[in-house]
Symmetry: D2
Subunit: 236 residues, 4 copies
């Protein structure tokens, strides 16, 4: 059974009535509940817990980590970022959602600024599948339709995705690379765009489906042996 | 000096008054003239010439071939397709425009159906740059704006581009991977979406600029030696 | 349960005593038996059967097709090649082994000559894992060691692999991109180098393991909807 | 004219007689002189200069930065690393040589450990071209032969290269991805493996040729406009 930890900054929900009305138990809970219904082993962790809820013990029992953050990226300790990075390189899957594009962990793993354009104006968003054979698209139609969302636009300062799965269309005139797969070390990383805190995006069945698909895709496989360092010549 | 051959089916312009009014000298001419002004050595070739204008002698003197076709893909002889394919593998650049997505040469080099969605309804198109450091984007702003164009939509059945340079936004609600780079053998291939025959797209300065940039990008470099076949063991 | 069809030309084994002594039941059988032991549903098909054993009914019941051919590539009917190509684009997995690099189906899907260098001199081969987190490497060490194999060397005229999983070292001085993943349409393709007909390579446990891993990786997922053709504008 | 800055740690040469005998003017000089002969505008910079020789003024006048470091990676100030990273994202080319794989700047841009295997045993190295149409291979044969070199082996913990240009064969039995292209922001990055400090590798004409080719490939193009931040909806 795949073990998922859903990490959430969990600040907006406690300080902003509008966000609380959409996600009364927190964004982490809105993400975790449907994953648990899919039969995954799910726990949550938040910024204000000791070690941000990401102790070595928790990470020892995490196959895939989901990350939502926005207003407090700077409060995440560098030591925890380094710890999560090492886990990803060792094989843990990582799914970065929406404003997590600007988290320390995502920027560290990408090597770029991960900056982008944005507009809070309730654009209509249509998230088109461009890789319809990819396991992350399992069970979707041609696109996911989201009535109101924050716009994210290009240029999105990321390395070219190893696989581009989704591209968003926004009614205000922009497009955005919305579903991006990467490998780093033995770990798989998926960035998925939607999920503004004031909007009910994580209650959308297709968004929930993509996150569940991505968890299964990003779950580690033991893979092959990696050896580093000084080594003698081989025979023959 | 880079030597360019602009190939055009050249049928619409001779049989359809609307197309003729937009491209009185043919689409090939509309593409060739601005390239010549850029200092490139340009010739044209069309379907109804002997060997479709693509004799071995012409190809011997072609660094980059540009391809526009639509209503008569089936009339292009397989022998000429095989000849052009071999030239691309040997290093000749190939730029495939608009409805050329369905040409024999493009389908042969891609290995897929190259099918897509479409709509002739004068959509507004905005071609966003997603790779702003790429030489094909030289001199552009954030996007190219085209007031009226035929819509092409996903799914576009191509191999994942090695580099994705442009993504189009259409007012009717679709997106499309509009600028796609590939390598095949020693040759470079660029697919560029816009250019419906009834619309003045090839008179648009930014479209002309992209085609000129793509010619420079796709021009062959001698590169390294390739050797095939049976071979003895090397020393040491 | 994943349904595998192992296709083999099955000529060497019937005409060459040396090959028959290594693969008395045919190469297809040597590949199929360990897959069946892994719990996969396996059938075989060979060139000299009607429709080369690849009727529509067989392909309707095939999730992943494995292909071994060498001396009779030219006898495979174009109609069957087109049929298999369409199945791959529709989602069927394809695993191409060794000299299958020069099969019509592989060349058609790649768009290149797929030519390479070779030497039959019992080189020592060491197949290094370069993507140790990839599911195809599951359960391997750092490399697969094969005491004697035919050498294949660069340049290998293929499109750049979307994922490069293995690189071979040969005692005679060459390297080769030995494990190459591609997507075409909704289908996944894996090329795996080793398997000369006179040598017991398909009895090697690690080679069997890679083929079984590749079958699981290439098995189709329903994925998302693909729609092509003329289409009206969307709402909003 | 392309402006190149060759950065070298410049410690081995001053403290180790063996290295000094091979590179009496320093590795930076051995790299810079042949580039200047190619008509490039070359300067050098070293670790022990103020700001490691990489002041804003120097970087303002640098199109491509070449990096060689080994024993003192830890002494490079984080502030200078951040400065160089930003320059790369803004378009400056970066060529990382040999033991520079473990430099702070390369690890920062890759997001991985960049660890590898190694052996100082005067292996014979043969650097095979696997992308013979790539401009970095201009003028090479099938491979570059280096009589004695330090071995670097897989696993090399880097993101999958966007373009893999070279793969090394070592007489001791290993292979290595030796020439790796990446884009980060608007900048181009090339990692090139050979160049152990005790061996005359940078006097090898083909190694010099690759570095010169890589400089031309990595030189910035103005490209297209990038805009980030809050933005109003577009017309239409």
């Amino acid at each position: 059974m795949i073990r998922v930890t859903v990490w959430n900054e969990y600040r907006h929900e406690r300080h902003d009535q509008q966000v609380a009305s959409v996600y009364p138990e927190g964004i982490h809970s809105a993400i975790a509940v449907p994953l648990a219904k899919e039969g995954l082993a799910v726990r949550t962790a938040t910024l204000d817990e000791p070690e941000h809820g990401l102790s070595n013990d928790v990470l020892d029992n995490t196959d895939v980590l989901i990350w939502w953050g926005h207003m407090a990226h700077g409060e995440v300790k560098d030591e925890i970022v380094a710890r999560v990075q090492q886990r990803v390189l060792d094989g843990m899957g990582l799914i970065v959602l929406h404003s997590g594009h600007y988290s320390k962990i995502f920027k560290t793993l990408m090597g770029t600024t991960c900056n982008l354009k944005w507009r809070e104006a309730n654009d209509h968003e249509r998230i088109w599948v461009v890789a319809p054979g990819h396991p992350i698209t399992e069970g979707l139609g041609e696109y996911i339709e989201i009535e109101h969302e924050e716009m994210y636009g290009e240029h999105f300062d990321i390395p070219a995705p190893e696989t581009l799965v989704f591209v968003s269309w926004f009614s205000g005139g922009e497009i955005f690379r919305s579903g991006c797969c990467y490998g780093r070390g033995r770990g798989k990383i998926f960035y998925f765009r939607p999920g503004h805190e004031t909007l009910p995006t994580y209650h959308h069945p297709d968004v929930q489906r993509v996150i569940a698909n991505a968890v299964r895709w990003a779950a580690p496989t033991p893979g092959a042996t990696r050896i580093f360092g000084n080594t003698p010549a081989l025979e023959k």
